[in-house]
Amino acid sequence: MAKLTYRHAVARGIAQEMRRDDSVVFLGEDVAAAGGVFKTTGGLLEEFGGRRVRDTPISEQAILGAAMGAAMTGLRPIAEIMFADFFAVCWDIVANEIAKMRYMTGGQITLPLVIRAANGGGLRFGAQHSQAIENWAMAIPGLKVVAPSTPRDVVGLLAASIRDPDPVIFLEAKSLYAVSEDVEDGEIVDTLGTARAVRDGGDATIVALGPMVPKACAAADELAEEGIRCEVLDLRSLVPLDTRSVLESVARTGRLFTVEENPRLCGWGAEVSSIVSEEIFGDLTGPIVRITTPHIPLPSAHALEELALPSAARIAETVRKALAS
């Protein structure tokens, strides 16, 4: 048991898997010699050498193409896309190639690969370096989408993603890199598609993801003091989606709130909302409410960015109002 930061959990998860499986390789920009621009991958080059841990040119299409080609011929590559926003320069390889290959080839090709990226806002990096792109990935059939909210989950879900036989988009919350917690020693392997209840309560269900989880918890704690008890579910992955946990919880509480970092339109919260209103409409006792960033590019000034992203206060206020009416 020792303190582990979210940042260092990345290297730990990768190292754990590289030690047990020689087919795991890792590539990206500035990831090897420099240990990553977010200092998430320090020590990997030293331990595994330049054959397995490789720096690349600024060529995201080549990085992901190389990962894809390697995955279809026996390797299990991990590729880093530095900021999730940069998926836009290689989206073809992700959405048109990687995601579709297995289906198009009638199952001939499997692609055991992981693409990691620093996702989301909160660090004043501006509109092109702060996007939460989970919904881009969720909208593409053939991609699994994972987004851990704690250091332990980074290790366990990253290990699960690396062992998964399908392509996984692994979104690290850059606003959580500095967060730490006590994590046990030894191998940690988690399971994709399993949400976790991080707060219990029968008055409402709050579903959150990644950096919105601590905010939802803070809101729930605030509300608990007022006697409003919310169950907070950390989805942990969007594909596979643990709809069962969501449906069970909402069936119990009658109310659903979703908290999304992404801009409003077509977010995963809309998907969850539509599932709930289609499948357990009769259990709902009031409107489903989505809490999101407004449908705007993220502004860079601290004052504005703070306003844009869902905050604990906004979550609490939204739930409070909705339950009161």
Binding site: R54, G65, A71, M72, R102, Y103, D166, L241, D242
Partner: protein, 335 residues
């Protein structure tokens, strides 16, 4: 036309007969596909290699089992040239359940992992980076498998081309990039949209590679250049970029009557049809016409047989719809 210094030895007779067999096989096959889409038995879109067969054939002959190839939507020829049987390809084009990918991919995505045909790709440029990956994997595993990646002249203007070439050169990957310059990107002459006369060869230097061009209508020449580049790759000497000059006999795709091409240009290139020329050359070099006739017959029979087989096959079952998104065979995204 530099860089290719050694092994200018022409192919031996066995190889040449092999090349001829491959050429006519591809030719008859593609003609049959054309007939079948006129009969509405092949749906969607289709891109034929009629006129360009010498490139797929030449490379096919220069490769070993286990070497990887990646092609474009214009990939029937490249798939056949690796030994993939005709019937499942035809069945795929006809949307049958016995298709090479059970009917789920279609004409533009022919893939046969069993034959190391690692896919046909329909988004321009995408497979060049992917070819870097199969080559990297071979390098990493210490195998001596070579990757060959085919694409067109128009493809040299898209970003992925540039990224892949630089990446392959820096990592010294065992990959051969083969640009089939058929003078047109779809309907627009390549010269109208490209800053250099030779879209691939004139850019080799940008990646520290030697410029290589070859007559893409000459199977012997293609074979020799292929053998050389593949050998280099196999020996760990890094990537090559080859520009093969050729011409397609028909339109870009099913929908295209190719009216945009000057008549004299078409005539001149039809006169350079690789197959009759190669046939003449083999006969001049002492091969009996009857041997070639026999090969022709065999190829035509093979196409006929495959056609009947594909025609007789049923459409894919509805159960395939939700199959094989994931490695577990399912399409399930939720519990």
């Amino acid at each position: 036309m530099s860089a290719i210094k050694e092994s200018l030895v022409p192919p031996d007779e066995g190889t040449r007969l092999n090349l001829y067999r491959s050429l006519v096989e591809l030719r008859y096959f593609e003609k049959r596909v054309y007939d079948l889409f006129l009969k509405n038995l092949v749906g969607g879109t289709t891109h034929l290699s009629l006129g360009q067969e010498a490139i797929a054939a030449g490379f096919g002959a220069a490769l070993r089992e286990g070497d990887y190839t990646l092609a474009t939507y214009r990939g029937h020829a490249h798939t056949l040239a690796r030994g993939v049987p005709m019937a499942p390809i035809l069945a795929e084009l006809m949307g049958r359940g016995t298709g090479l990918m059970s009917g789920k991919g279609g004409s533009m995505h022919l893939t046969s992992v069993e034959h190391h045909v690692m896919g046909s790709y329909a988004i321009i440029g995408a497979h060049l980076p992917i070819a870097c990956g199969t080559a990297w994997s071979a390098q990493y595993r210490g195998s001596d498998q070579v990757t060959v990646c085919f694409f067109g002249d128009g493809t040299t203007n898209i970003g992925a081309f540039h990224e892949a070439l630089n990446f392959a050169a820096v990592w010294k990957l065992p990959v051969v990039f083969v640009c089939e310059n058929n003078l047109y990107m779809e309907y627009t002459p390549i010269g109208d949209v490209t800053a250099v006369p030779r879209p691939a060869a004139d850019r080799a230097g940008a990646y520290g590679l030697d410029p290589v061009t070859v007559d893409g209508n000459d199977p012997d020449a293609v074979y020799v250049v292929a053998r050389e580049a593949v050998g280099r790759a196999r020996r760990g000497e890094g990537p090559s970029l080859i520009e093969a000059l050729t011409y397609r006999h028909g339109g870009h795709s099913r929908a295209d009557p190719a009216k945009y091409r000057p008549e004299e240009e078409v005539k001149a290139w039809l006169a350079r049809d690789p197959i009759p020329i190669y046939r003449q050359r083999l006969i001049a070099d002492g091969v009996a016409a009857s041997v070639l006739d026999e090969i022709d017959r065999w190829a035509l029979d093979a196409v006929d047989e495959a056609t009947e087989e594909a025609k007789a096959a049923p459409p894919p079952g509805a159960d395939l719809l939700l199959k094989d998104v994931w490695a577990d065979g399912s399409a399930t995204w939720r519990n």
